[in-house]
Symmetry: C3
Subunit: 145 residues, 3 copies
Amino acid sequence: MIYKKTIEKNSESQIEFIDITQDVDDIVKESKIQNGQVLVFSPHSTAGIAINENESLLIQDFQRLLYKLVPVEERYSHDLFELKRTTRSDGRSNGHSHCKDLLIGASEVIPVADGKPMLGGHQNIFFIEMDGARKRDIVVQVMGE
Amino acid sequence: MIYKKTIEKNSESQIEFIDITQDVDDIVKESKIQNGQVLVFSPHSTAGIAINENESLLIQDFQRLLYKLVPVEERYSHDLFELKRTTRSDGRSNGHSHCKDLLIGASEVIPVADGKPMLGGHQNIFFIEMDGARKRDIVVQVMGE
Amino acid sequence: MIYKKTIEKNSESQIEFIDITQDVDDIVKESKIQNGQVLVFSPHSTAGIAINENESLLIQDFQRLLYKLVPVEERYSHDLFELKRTTRSDGRSNGHSHCKDLLIGASEVIPVADGKPMLGGHQNIFFIEMDGARKRDIVVQVMGE
Protein backbone atom coordinates (compact mmCIF):
# COMPACT_ATOMS: atom_id res chain seq x y z
CA MET A 1 0.00 0.00 0.00
CA ILE A 2 1.13 3.53 -0.78
CA TYR A 3 -0.35 6.70 0.67
CA LYS A 4 0.94 10.17 -0.17
CA LYS A 5 0.11 13.67 0.90
CA THR A 6 1.64 17.08 0.27
CA ILE A 7 1.47 19.51 3.15
CA GLU A 8 2.05 23.27 3.08
CA LYS A 9 3.96 25.37 5.58
CA ASN A 10 4.65 29.09 5.76
CA SER A 11 8.11 30.00 6.98
CA GLU A 12 8.51 33.35 8.69
CA SER A 13 12.26 33.93 8.84
CA GLN A 14 15.39 33.25 6.79
CA ILE A 15 16.42 30.11 8.64
CA GLU A 16 13.65 28.32 10.47
CA PHE A 17 13.19 24.86 11.94
CA ILE A 18 9.53 23.94 11.45
CA ASP A 19 8.46 20.90 13.48
CA ILE A 20 6.32 18.65 11.26
CA THR A 21 6.26 15.59 13.54
CA GLN A 22 2.55 15.89 14.23
CA ASP A 23 1.74 16.29 10.51
CA VAL A 24 3.73 13.15 9.70
CA ASP A 25 2.09 11.23 12.56
CA ASP A 26 -1.36 12.24 11.29
CA ILE A 27 -0.60 11.19 7.71
CA VAL A 28 0.73 7.81 8.84
CA LYS A 29 -2.49 7.36 10.86
CA GLU A 30 -4.69 8.36 7.91
CA SER A 31 -2.82 5.89 5.66
CA LYS A 32 -3.94 2.98 7.91
CA ILE A 33 -0.55 1.40 7.16
CA GLN A 34 0.65 -0.54 10.21
CA ASN A 35 4.12 -1.63 9.15
CA GLY A 36 6.44 -0.04 6.64
CA GLN A 37 8.16 3.29 6.31
CA VAL A 38 7.43 6.95 5.84
CA LEU A 39 9.46 9.10 3.46
CA VAL A 40 9.56 12.83 4.20
CA PHE A 41 10.79 14.81 1.19
CA SER A 42 11.46 18.50 0.55
CA PRO A 43 10.89 19.40 -3.13
CA HIS A 44 13.07 22.51 -2.69
CA SER A 45 16.77 23.26 -3.10
CA THR A 46 17.02 25.77 -0.26
CA ALA A 47 15.00 23.83 2.33
CA GLY A 48 15.60 20.31 3.64
CA ILE A 49 14.56 17.65 6.13
CA ALA A 50 16.33 16.56 9.31
CA ILE A 51 15.48 14.75 12.52
CA ASN A 52 16.59 16.02 15.90
CA GLU A 53 15.30 17.28 19.23
CA ASN A 54 12.82 20.16 19.37
CA GLU A 55 14.30 22.21 22.15
CA SER A 56 14.27 25.97 21.54
CA LEU A 57 17.81 26.70 22.77
CA LEU A 58 19.17 23.80 20.73
CA ILE A 59 17.53 25.20 17.61
CA GLN A 60 19.50 28.41 18.19
CA ASP A 61 22.64 26.25 18.21
CA PHE A 62 21.62 24.63 14.91
CA GLN A 63 21.03 28.04 13.32
CA ARG A 64 24.38 29.31 14.61
CA LEU A 65 26.11 26.19 13.22
CA LEU A 66 24.57 26.67 9.76
CA TYR A 67 25.55 30.37 9.73
CA LYS A 68 29.08 29.49 10.91
CA LEU A 69 29.72 26.72 8.37
CA VAL A 70 28.14 28.70 5.53
CA PRO A 71 28.36 32.44 6.36
CA VAL A 72 25.85 34.75 4.71
CA GLU A 73 28.50 37.46 4.34
CA GLU A 74 30.80 35.39 2.12
CA ARG A 75 30.58 35.77 -1.64
CA TYR A 76 28.65 33.15 -3.55
CA SER A 77 28.95 32.96 -7.33
CA HIS A 78 25.32 31.88 -7.53
CA ASP A 79 24.26 35.34 -6.36
CA LEU A 80 25.46 36.78 -9.68
CA PHE A 81 23.11 34.37 -11.41
CA GLU A 82 20.20 35.23 -9.13
CA LEU A 83 20.58 38.92 -9.90
CA LYS A 84 19.88 38.16 -13.57
CA ARG A 85 17.04 35.68 -13.02
CA THR A 86 13.82 37.37 -14.06
CA THR A 87 11.62 35.31 -11.76
CA ARG A 88 13.38 36.74 -8.70
CA SER A 89 13.42 40.48 -8.39
CA ASP A 90 13.84 41.09 -4.69
CA GLY A 91 17.63 41.31 -5.00
CA ARG A 92 18.03 38.82 -2.19
CA SER A 93 21.00 36.48 -2.61
CA ASN A 94 20.54 32.85 -1.69
CA GLY A 95 23.81 31.13 -2.66
CA HIS A 96 24.36 30.48 1.05
CA SER A 97 20.90 28.86 1.34
CA HIS A 98 21.68 26.29 -1.36
CA CYS A 99 25.04 25.56 0.29
CA LYS A 100 23.40 25.00 3.68
CA ASP A 101 20.84 22.72 2.02
CA LEU A 102 23.65 20.61 0.54
CA LEU A 103 24.69 19.76 4.11
CA ILE A 104 21.15 19.01 5.31
CA GLY A 105 19.72 16.87 2.50
CA ALA A 106 16.27 16.58 0.95
CA SER A 107 14.87 13.44 2.58
CA GLU A 108 14.61 11.28 5.68
CA VAL A 109 13.03 7.83 5.85
CA ILE A 110 11.55 6.61 9.14
CA PRO A 111 10.38 3.06 9.87
CA VAL A 112 6.70 2.65 10.78
CA ALA A 113 5.43 0.05 13.28
CA ASP A 114 1.99 -0.34 14.88
CA GLY A 115 0.75 2.51 12.72
CA LYS A 116 3.30 5.05 14.04
CA PRO A 117 6.69 6.42 12.98
CA MET A 118 9.34 4.72 15.15
CA LEU A 119 10.87 7.97 16.39
CA GLY A 120 12.97 7.96 19.54
CA GLY A 121 11.88 9.96 22.60
CA HIS A 122 14.12 12.92 21.70
CA GLN A 123 13.42 12.92 17.96
CA ASN A 124 11.30 15.38 16.03
CA ILE A 125 11.02 15.77 12.28
CA PHE A 126 11.99 19.22 11.02
CA PHE A 127 11.38 20.94 7.74
CA ILE A 128 14.35 23.31 7.65
CA GLU A 129 13.74 26.55 5.79
CA MET A 130 17.02 28.16 4.71
CA ASP A 131 15.72 30.87 2.35
CA GLY A 132 12.56 32.20 4.00
CA ALA A 133 10.08 33.62 4.46
CA ARG A 134 8.04 31.63 1.91
CA LYS A 135 5.18 29.23 1.35
CA ARG A 136 6.64 25.73 1.03
CA ASP A 137 5.51 22.18 0.20
CA ILE A 138 6.57 18.95 1.88
CA VAL A 139 5.81 15.50 0.47
CA VAL A 140 5.01 12.73 2.97
CA GLN A 141 4.68 9.23 1.60
CA VAL A 142 3.86 6.05 3.52
CA MET A 143 4.63 2.61 2.06
CA GLY A 144 3.83 -0.70 3.69
CA GLU A 145 1.03 -3.01 4.71
CA MET B 1 7.37 -8.40 2.59
CA ILE B 2 8.63 -6.40 5.54
CA TYR B 3 11.08 -7.61 8.18
CA LYS B 4 12.28 -5.46 11.07
CA LYS B 5 14.70 -5.88 13.92
CA THR B 6 16.10 -3.58 16.58
CA ILE B 7 19.69 -4.21 17.58
CA GLU B 8 21.54 -2.90 20.63
CA LYS B 9 25.06 -1.53 20.79
CA ASN B 10 27.12 -0.22 23.68
CA SER B 11 29.30 2.75 22.82
CA GLU B 12 32.45 3.21 24.89
CA SER B 13 33.63 6.72 24.11
CA GLN B 14 32.18 10.17 23.32
CA ILE B 15 32.46 9.89 19.54
CA GLU B 16 32.61 6.37 18.20
CA PHE B 17 32.11 4.79 14.79
CA ILE B 18 30.52 1.37 15.38
CA ASP B 19 30.60 -0.87 12.32
CA ILE B 20 27.20 -2.57 12.00
CA THR B 21 27.67 -3.97 8.47
CA GLN B 22 27.65 -7.58 9.68
CA ASP B 23 24.50 -7.02 11.75
CA VAL B 24 22.71 -5.53 8.74
CA ASP B 25 23.91 -8.38 6.49
CA ASP B 26 22.60 -10.93 8.99
CA ILE B 27 19.19 -9.26 9.28
CA VAL B 28 18.81 -9.08 5.49
CA LYS B 29 19.68 -12.81 5.34
CA GLU B 30 17.18 -13.66 8.12
CA SER B 31 14.48 -11.68 6.28
CA LYS B 32 14.75 -14.05 3.28
CA ILE B 33 14.07 -10.98 1.10
CA GLN B 34 15.99 -11.26 -2.16
CA ASN B 35 15.26 -7.90 -3.82
CA GLY B 36 14.34 -4.64 -2.19
CA GLN B 37 15.99 -2.28 0.21
CA VAL B 38 17.19 -2.07 3.78
CA LEU B 39 16.60 1.01 5.91
CA VAL B 40 19.04 1.60 8.78
CA PHE B 41 17.66 4.12 11.27
CA SER B 42 18.99 5.67 14.46
CA PRO B 43 16.17 6.54 16.90
CA HIS B 44 18.47 9.01 18.67
CA SER B 45 19.22 12.72 18.27
CA THR B 46 22.91 12.50 19.21
CA ALA B 47 23.78 9.41 17.17
CA GLY B 48 23.35 8.83 13.43
CA ILE B 49 24.00 6.53 10.50
CA ALA B 50 26.56 6.90 7.71
CA ILE B 51 28.25 4.70 5.16
CA ASN B 52 31.99 4.86 4.53
CA GLU B 53 35.17 2.82 4.69
CA ASN B 54 36.16 1.05 7.91
CA GLU B 55 39.84 1.93 8.07
CA SER B 56 41.08 2.83 11.54
CA LEU B 57 43.20 5.84 10.52
CA LEU B 58 40.34 7.19 8.42
CA ILE B 59 38.02 6.97 11.40
CA GLN B 60 40.43 9.25 13.28
CA ASP B 61 40.06 11.71 10.38
CA PHE B 62 36.27 11.53 10.66
CA GLN B 63 36.42 12.18 14.40
CA ARG B 64 38.80 15.09 13.87
CA LEU B 65 36.47 16.53 11.23
CA LEU B 66 33.44 16.36 13.50
CA TYR B 67 35.38 18.00 16.37
CA LYS B 68 36.69 20.70 13.99
CA LEU B 69 33.31 21.57 12.43
CA VAL B 70 31.51 21.45 15.78
CA PRO B 71 34.05 22.10 18.56
CA VAL B 72 33.23 20.79 22.04
CA GLU B 73 34.75 23.89 23.64
CA GLU B 74 32.34 26.35 22.01
CA ARG B 75 29.25 27.46 23.90
CA TYR B 76 25.98 25.78 23.05
CA SER B 77 22.72 27.27 24.30
CA HIS B 78 21.29 23.76 24.64
CA ASP B 79 23.74 23.09 27.47
CA LEU B 80 21.85 25.57 29.65
CA PHE B 81 18.73 23.50 29.04
CA GLU B 82 20.50 20.22 29.81
CA LEU B 83 21.68 21.58 33.16
CA LYS B 84 18.05 21.96 34.19
CA ARG B 85 16.75 18.69 32.78
CA THR B 86 16.02 16.41 35.70
CA THR B 87 16.58 13.19 33.75
CA ARG B 88 20.20 14.10 33.15
CA SER B 89 22.26 14.78 36.23
CA ASP B 90 25.82 14.06 35.13
CA GLY B 91 26.44 17.70 34.20
CA ARG B 92 27.71 16.66 30.80
CA SER B 93 26.81 19.06 28.00
CA ASN B 94 25.75 17.62 24.68
CA GLY B 95 24.80 20.62 22.53
CA HIS B 96 27.77 19.78 20.32
CA SER B 97 26.54 16.18 19.95
CA HIS B 98 23.16 17.28 18.57
CA CYS B 99 24.91 19.70 16.18
CA LYS B 100 27.20 16.94 14.88
CA ASP B 101 24.18 14.67 14.44
CA LEU B 102 22.47 17.34 12.30
CA LEU B 103 25.34 16.96 9.80
CA ILE B 104 25.28 13.14 9.83
CA GLY B 105 21.56 12.34 9.60
CA ALA B 106 19.40 9.60 11.10
CA SER B 107 19.03 7.15 8.22
CA GLU B 108 20.59 5.47 5.20
CA VAL B 109 18.76 3.27 2.70
CA ILE B 110 20.69 0.58 0.82
CA PRO B 111 19.38 -1.43 -2.13
CA VAL B 112 19.22 -5.22 -1.65
CA ALA B 113 19.85 -7.73 -4.45
CA ASP B 114 20.35 -11.50 -4.31
CA GLY B 115 19.61 -11.38 -0.59
CA LYS B 116 22.47 -8.98 0.21
CA PRO B 117 22.90 -5.20 0.71
CA MET B 118 24.49 -3.81 -2.48
CA LEU B 119 27.41 -2.16 -0.69
CA GLY B 120 30.52 -1.27 -2.64
CA GLY B 121 33.86 -2.88 -1.79
CA HIS B 122 34.97 0.07 0.36
CA GLN B 123 31.63 0.66 2.08
CA ASN B 124 30.71 -0.19 5.64
CA ILE B 125 27.64 0.87 7.58
CA PHE B 126 28.40 2.86 10.72
CA PHE B 127 26.31 3.71 13.71
CA ILE B 128 27.95 6.97 14.80
CA GLU B 129 27.79 7.65 18.52
CA MET B 130 28.29 11.35 19.26
CA ASP B 131 27.32 11.47 22.94
CA GLY B 132 28.69 8.27 24.44
CA ALA B 133 29.27 6.13 26.29
CA ARG B 134 25.74 4.67 26.30
CA LYS B 135 23.53 1.74 25.39
CA ARG B 136 21.87 2.50 22.05
CA ASP B 137 19.25 1.04 19.71
CA ILE B 138 19.36 0.82 15.92
CA VAL B 139 16.34 -0.11 13.77
CA VAL B 140 17.01 -2.21 10.67
CA GLN B 141 14.09 -2.78 8.32
CA VAL B 142 14.07 -4.78 5.10
CA MET B 143 11.32 -4.27 2.49
CA GLY B 144 10.99 -6.20 -0.75
CA GLU B 145 10.19 -9.58 -2.19
CA MET C 1 7.07 -4.09 -8.06
CA ILE C 2 10.81 -3.51 -7.93
CA TYR C 3 12.99 -2.35 -10.81
CA LYS C 4 16.73 -1.78 -10.52
CA LYS C 5 19.45 -0.57 -12.81
CA THR C 6 23.11 0.31 -12.37
CA ILE C 7 24.39 3.17 -14.46
CA GLU C 8 28.00 4.12 -15.18
CA LYS C 9 29.51 7.60 -15.23
CA ASN C 10 33.03 8.81 -15.93
CA SER C 11 34.15 11.69 -13.77
CA GLU C 12 36.77 14.01 -15.22
CA SER C 13 38.03 16.05 -12.28
CA GLN C 14 38.70 15.65 -8.56
CA ILE C 15 35.39 17.11 -7.38
CA GLU C 16 32.59 17.00 -9.88
CA PHE C 17 28.82 17.34 -9.71
CA ILE C 18 27.39 15.00 -12.36
CA ASP C 19 23.71 15.64 -13.06
CA ILE C 20 21.91 12.27 -13.28
CA THR C 21 18.34 13.59 -13.22
CA GLN C 22 17.64 12.46 -16.79
CA ASP C 23 19.05 8.98 -16.12
CA VAL C 24 16.82 8.61 -13.06
CA ASP C 25 13.78 9.89 -14.98
CA ASP C 26 14.44 7.36 -17.75
CA ILE C 27 14.79 4.45 -15.33
CA VAL C 28 11.55 5.39 -13.54
CA LYS C 29 9.82 5.49 -16.94
CA GLU C 30 11.29 2.10 -17.97
CA SER C 31 10.11 0.60 -14.67
CA LYS C 32 6.46 1.39 -15.56
CA ILE C 33 5.94 2.07 -11.84
CA GLN C 34 3.40 4.86 -11.40
CA ASN C 35 3.43 5.40 -7.64
CA GLY C 36 6.20 4.67 -5.18
CA GLN C 37 9.72 5.86 -4.67
CA VAL C 38 13.10 5.84 -6.30
CA LEU C 39 16.28 5.19 -4.33
CA VAL C 40 19.51 6.62 -5.77
CA PHE C 41 22.55 5.02 -4.15
CA SER C 42 26.30 5.52 -4.55
CA PRO C 43 28.23 2.27 -3.85
CA HIS C 44 31.40 4.30 -3.19
CA SER C 45 32.97 5.86 -0.09
CA THR C 46 34.42 8.92 -1.86
CA ALA C 47 31.37 9.79 -3.99
CA GLY C 48 27.81 10.49 -2.84
CA ILE C 49 24.34 11.60 -3.85
CA ALA C 50 22.65 14.97 -3.25
CA ILE C 51 19.76 16.94 -4.66
CA ASN C 52 20.06 20.62 -5.50
CA GLU C 53 19.87 23.10 -8.35
CA ASN C 54 21.98 22.60 -11.46
CA GLU C 55 23.28 26.11 -11.98
CA SER C 56 26.93 26.30 -13.01
CA LEU C 57 27.94 29.19 -10.72
CA LEU C 58 26.20 27.53 -7.78
CA ILE C 59 28.17 24.34 -8.40
CA GLN C 60 31.34 26.41 -8.01
CA ASP C 61 29.97 27.50 -4.61
CA PHE C 62 29.35 23.87 -3.63
CA GLN C 63 32.89 22.91 -4.62
CA ARG C 64 34.33 25.85 -2.71
CA LEU C 65 32.26 24.88 0.36
CA LEU C 66 33.53 21.28 0.28
CA TYR C 67 37.14 22.45 -0.08
CA LYS C 68 36.66 24.97 2.74
CA LEU C 69 35.06 22.55 5.22
CA VAL C 70 37.50 19.74 4.36
CA PRO C 71 40.71 21.31 2.98
CA VAL C 72 42.89 19.15 0.73
CA GLU C 73 46.04 20.62 2.25
CA GLU C 74 45.32 19.43 5.80
CA ARG C 75 46.86 16.17 6.98
CA TYR C 76 44.65 13.10 6.96
CA SER C 77 45.78 9.96 8.81
CA HIS C 78 44.11 7.84 6.14
CA ASP C 79 46.70 9.04 3.62
CA LEU C 80 49.37 7.05 5.50
CA PHE C 81 47.22 3.97 4.99
CA GLU C 82 46.67 4.71 1.30
CA LEU C 83 50.42 4.96 0.71
CA LYS C 84 50.76 1.35 1.83
CA ARG C 85 47.73 -0.04 0.01
CA THR C 86 48.97 -2.16 -2.87
CA THR C 87 45.89 -1.62 -5.02
CA ARG C 88 46.54 2.12 -5.19
CA SER C 89 49.94 3.15 -6.48
CA ASP C 90 49.36 6.64 -7.83
CA GLY C 91 50.44 8.25 -4.56
CA ARG C 92 47.29 10.34 -4.53
CA SER C 93 45.87 10.92 -1.05
CA ASN C 94 42.13 10.76 -0.61
CA GLY C 95 41.53 11.16 3.13
CA HIS C 96 39.84 14.47 2.34
CA SER C 97 37.54 12.74 -0.20
CA HIS C 98 36.21 10.30 2.39
CA CYS C 99 35.67 13.17 4.84
CA LYS C 100 33.72 15.17 2.26
CA ASP C 101 31.63 12.09 1.50
CA LEU C 102 30.74 11.73 5.19
CA LEU C 103 29.01 15.13 4.93
CA ILE C 104 27.20 14.32 1.66
CA GLY C 105 25.86 10.80 2.28
CA ALA C 106 25.38 7.77 0.05
CA SER C 107 21.67 7.90 -0.78
CA GLU C 108 18.61 10.00 -1.53
CA VAL C 109 15.04 8.71 -1.81
CA ILE C 110 12.54 10.57 -4.00
CA PRO C 111 8.80 9.93 -4.11
CA VAL C 112 7.37 8.87 -7.50
CA ALA C 113 3.90 9.89 -8.72
CA ASP C 114 2.32 9.55 -12.18
CA GLY C 115 5.41 7.67 -13.34
CA LYS C 116 7.83 10.52 -12.51
CA PRO C 117 10.14 11.51 -9.61
CA MET C 118 8.41 14.29 -7.67
CA LEU C 119 11.31 16.72 -7.92
CA GLY C 120 10.70 20.41 -7.41
CA GLY C 121 11.33 22.90 -10.22
CA HIS C 122 14.80 23.80 -8.91
CA GLN C 123 15.89 20.26 -8.00
CA ASN C 124 18.35 18.07 -9.85
CA ILE C 125 19.87 14.81 -8.72
CA PHE C 126 23.67 14.87 -8.51
CA PHE C 127 26.20 12.13 -8.29
CA ILE C 128 29.02 13.93 -6.49
CA GLU C 129 32.51 12.68 -7.33
CA MET C 130 35.00 13.64 -4.64
CA ASP C 131 38.01 11.56 -5.68
CA GLY C 132 38.06 11.70 -9.49
CA ALA C 133 38.71 11.20 -12.25
CA ARG C 134 37.32 7.65 -12.33
CA LYS C 135 34.69 5.33 -13.76
CA ARG C 136 31.85 5.05 -11.23
CA ASP C 137 28.62 3.10 -10.69
CA ILE C 138 25.31 4.41 -9.40
CA VAL C 139 22.41 2.15 -8.36
CA VAL C 140 18.89 3.37 -9.13
CA GLN C 141 16.03 1.34 -7.70
CA VAL C 142 12.30 1.99 -8.15
CA MET C 143 9.76 0.43 -5.76
CA GLY C 144 6.00 0.79 -6.02
CA GLU C 145 2.99 -0.15 -8.06
